[in-house]
């Protein structure tokens, strides 16, 4: 998993105790999603509470970084001057749990080639002290 300087100006999230692992796990090449120690349910966005079993033993755990595009859009309009268009905004369900959905960009491919149902994998892009999870087409899943 590589990281590279961004060509794409990104508005960054402010960190707090709940979301810090998600936005910094890429430093170690890990996509960290909060998971319940007691029942195994993944909790996203991250909180310290498991809505499945009410446990408070919920903490960031690495996942495979594999997922599937649940929905996607090709954005053609440059909302700020330096943004290269078109680009793909997608919602990716992680392989481990269908209801954990990450808003992301699909990168390293022709934006017009991306479709709902495509398998994707994570990579990270460092911006300041954050590692932004991005997804690219899974080379094993596409011809």
């Amino acid at each position: 998993m590589s990281s590279q300087p961004s060509e794409f100006p990104r508005t960054l999230p402010a960190l707090d105790l709940d979301n810090e692992a998600f936005w910094t796990g890429g430093k170690n090449g890990e996509l960290l999603i909060n998971r319940c120690d007691d029942c195994g349910y993944y909790v996203h966005p991250p909180t310290g509470f498991c809505p499945s079993c009410e446990s408070r033993d919920v903490r960031p755990q690495p996942v495979s970084g594999r997922g599937e595009i649940v929905t996607m859009t090709v954005n053609y309009r440059a909302w700020f001057p330096d943004i290269p268009v078109p680009y793909v905004v997608a919602m990716v369900a992680i392989e481990e749990q269908q209801d954990v959905r990450l808003i992301t960009n699909i990168v390293d491919c022709d934006p017009l080639s991306v479709e709902i149902g495509d398998k994707v994998r994570v990579r990270f892009e460092q911006v300041e002290d954050l590692w932004i999870p991005l997804f690219f087409p899974d080379p094993e899943a596409r011809p």
């Binding site: 794409f8 100006p9 990104r10 508005t11 960054l12 999230p13 402010a14 960190l15 979301n19 996203h44 966005p45 649940v70 929905t71 996607m72 859009t73 090709v74 954005n75 053609y76 309009r77 909302w79 700020f80 330096d82 943004i83 680009y87 905004v89 997608a90 919602m91 209801d99 959905r101 990450l102 808003i103 992301t104 960009n105 709902i116 911006v127 954050l130 932004i132």
Partner: protein, 395 residues
């Protein structure tokens, strides 16, 4: 037995609207005063009669024009003496302010309450402020922070994700989707107050630029400067007032799904089905009793979703229902968005629909008046994790 639900005791007794434009000649507060004074006069009341005040979402003073006027500015300008007031941002879409007023009137906290919605986005955009909360280089605490790093800065990109899933699951075709925009423009051509009144053809729609697929520019509503005010009173008082009584027959305001823009339970239907169910469970009316539907059209697909989720057609069959546009036209079996909607009349942000529902029920629609003395209007607002709905009935 559905007659005891408290919303049935509340009526809309007056409506008002400022000039709606792509660049106002007066301030946002000035527009709000126009709308509110208009509503008070429409009901045959005076300023001193207004003892309740609400708005959605309350003032947001970020220069974006999204909500430039709140309750304090209006209360002070009009020197109102109110017994109850509240703005309401985290609620069932823009109608949440209406639902709060219904509760306050029923609780006896006030007798005649104004709800207003003011936008000043046309002027704000001329000043270059597209979305003040998402500037590159800033760290955002916004509820949209999960979208922010990915260039999903604006509603069209965020909501395109829901519509894309709907298209994927339903198979609706672009020329069917187009009918929402074409219908709006056709109705707007008969509405002197609408922003865009030149007829739109299917070819023009199909050739129009894609903003964020599958949403084209004509699927997006038009930012305006303007204000709408709705006056609500208790039903028994409404009987002695100037306008024919329009009572609220039922509301849908629940939040049974995850209220999170990035984690919707059902992308294709969003938050609407349970809200629509609540509304139908609180009334003896059913979809076939509805004469007109004023459906939220912040984006065209919201109206498509509401047609299905209200039960006017089956799930994923709205494309067939609106094909050709005849059923939803003014002369059709279910006229929708009769003033042109947000797509062509302008983004009054759901309050345009309430205003127009009253226009139609009071028979003031002139060239766009729906024939046959319409009695029942279904109204809806919002998309994504938010939804609100109600039925308005003329007695």
């Amino acid at each position: 037995m559905t007659t005891d639900y408290p919303e049935k005791g509340i009526a809309i007794t007056g409506i008002g609207q400022s000039k709606i434009s792509r660049g106002a000649q007066k301030s946002a507060l000035g527009l709000t005063i126009d709308a509110v004074m208009d509503a008070i006069e429409d009901a045959g009341l005076e300023r001193k009669d207004i003892d309740g005040l609400a708005c959605w979402p309350g003032a947001i003073t970020d220069g974006s024009g999204f909500a430039p006027v709140g309750i304090p500015a209006l209360q002070d300008a009009l020197r109102l003496k109110v017994n109850w007031y509240a703005n309401t941002r985290e609620t069932s879409g823009q109608f949440g302010a209406m639902f709060n007023v219904i509760a306050a009137l029923n609780a006896g906290l006030c007798r005649h309450a104004i709800v207003f919605r003011t936008m000043y986005q046309a002027t704000a955009r001329k000043r270059g402020l597209v979305n003040a909360s998402f500037q590159p280089g800033q760290r955002t605490y916004s509820h949209m922070a999960w979208h922010a790093p990915y260039g999903a800065f604006v509603a069209v990109t965020q909501q395109a994700l829901y519509f894309a899933r709907y298209v994927h699951e339903s198979g609706i075709r672009p020329e069917q989707v187009a009918q929402i925009a074409l219908n709006g423009r056709r109705n707007a051509s008969l509405n002197p107050a609408a922003i865009y009144r030149t007829p739109l053809t299917l070819d023009e729609y199909m050739e129009s630029p894609m903003i964020s697929s599958p949403l084209r520019i004509f699927d997006c509503d038009v930012p305006i400067d303007g204000s709408t005010a709705i006056l609500l009173s208790r039903r028994e008082e409404a009987k002695d007032m100037r306008n024919p009584v329009l009572h609220i027959d039922s509301i849908g305001c629940n939040m049974h799904y995850r209220n999170n823009w990035s984690q919707l339970d059902a992308l294709a239907t969003q938050a609407q089905p349970e809200v629509a169910n609540m509304m139908w469970n609180r009334t003896d009316l059913c979809p076939k009793d509805v004469d007109i539907a004023e459906l939220y059209d912040g984006f065209s697909f919201h109206s498509i979703n509401w047609l299905e989720n209200f039960g006017f057609c089956k799930q994923f069959e709205a494309g067939d229902f609106i094909e050709g546009g005849h059923r939803i036209a003014l002369e059709g079996e279910l006229p929708i968005n009769t003033n042109g909607g947000a797509l062509s009349a302008g983004r009054m942000h759901a309050y345009g629909q309430i205003h127009e529902a009253c226009i139609q029920l009071w028979g003031r629609g002139e060239a766009r008046q729906v024939k046959g003395d319409p009695r029942v209007v279904a109204l809806s607002t919002a998309g994504g994790p938010l939804a609100g709905a109600f039925l308005l009935v003329k007695e």
